[in-house]
Symmetry: C2
Subunit: 180 residues, 2 copies
């Protein structure tokens, strides 16, 4: 929700590189989110998330279903990762899940988001699912695994890795310093 | 390293409640630190810790042995949790481990720290290992588990839990607001 604003304030460019976290968790032997596998930590993370959203003045409600698979939503994001609307799209998808408690795995929800962005949902869905673009998500997820990514969001500034909202500001400052 | 300074700046009192993390990890089915069990995350955490120490202007080097058991050091901390020197003692023990790469499980190291604080190491060791005080560490660790603690440092402000250095400032601000 914050990255494009914070980056712009520091003159830093953002390149979105969407991937699936589920296969990475599976490679660790986890069938689902560690929030569910580690009960105590999971309980804490939910209350922490609520507090953080209050701190950042973001709407939030706990999704009634978690984690939600969002393969089409992520395929669209990856296919259009460099489109001018990518940030707005990602925030809209996250809002559907974490504010409106909607199933972002549902094609209809993804299409609603695209419609609200004044885009052409059938054309975008067809492109994201085309033979040309569909395999990219598997490759991008494999690349994420090879980079040592174990959670999301993760930010790279060159080869320097920063994990999570808690490190966003450090990452942006590192990028701003590196480009000087 | 930071808590007493940050707390004092906000007029917040700190009550130290040392416990052992190892038995809590074992209760999750983990034989050792998750930093070792999750290779990717572990690698990241070490480089992140180094960056954070630079940010906070703290000396740091990666211990050659991790995690180090520190049962006597923790028994001393718990027995003397409300002593005026507890903060200084905890920081000194942490420095021995994370700056000087010394084995804080070694009684001699604990005694060196106490000596540097102008205390009486044999008397303190005897008190911490006495029938009166020794069982307290097991009970305190059990209490930590019952409170839902899954890592360290963890801060409580009343019943509100905050985990990790990343949430220290939130915890202190919450405490400062709560006491108004």
């Amino acid at each position: 929700m914050r990255i494009e604003t914070v980056a712009a304030n520091h003159g830093v460019d953002v390149h979105w590189r969407p991937f699936l976290l589920g296969p990475i968790f599976q490679s660790f032997g986890w069938e689902t989110s560690p929030f569910l596998l580690q009960k105590h930590k999971g309980n804490y993370v939910w209350s922490d998330m609520q507090r953080q959203c209050i701190k950042y003045n973001l709407d939030w409600q706990k999704p009634s279903d978690f984690p939600r698979a969002a393969v089409l939503a992520t395929r669209v994001a990856l296919t259009y990762r460099d489109a001018p609307w990518i940030g707005h799209y990602c925030r809209s998808i996250m809002r559907r899940n974490f504010v409106l408690d909607q199933d972002i795995g549902d094609t209809a929800i993804v299409k609603q988001v695209l419609t609200q962005l004044n885009l052409d949902p059938p054309q975008i869905e067809a492109t994201a699912l085309s033979d040309e673009h569909k395999p990219a998500l598997r490759a991008q997820t494999q690349l994420a695994a090879e980079l040592g990514i174990f959670g999301a969001p993760t930010f790279f500034v060159g080869e320097e890795m920063f994990w999570g909202n808690d490190r966003l500001d450090d990452a942006i400052q590192y990028a701003a310093r590196s480009s000087k």
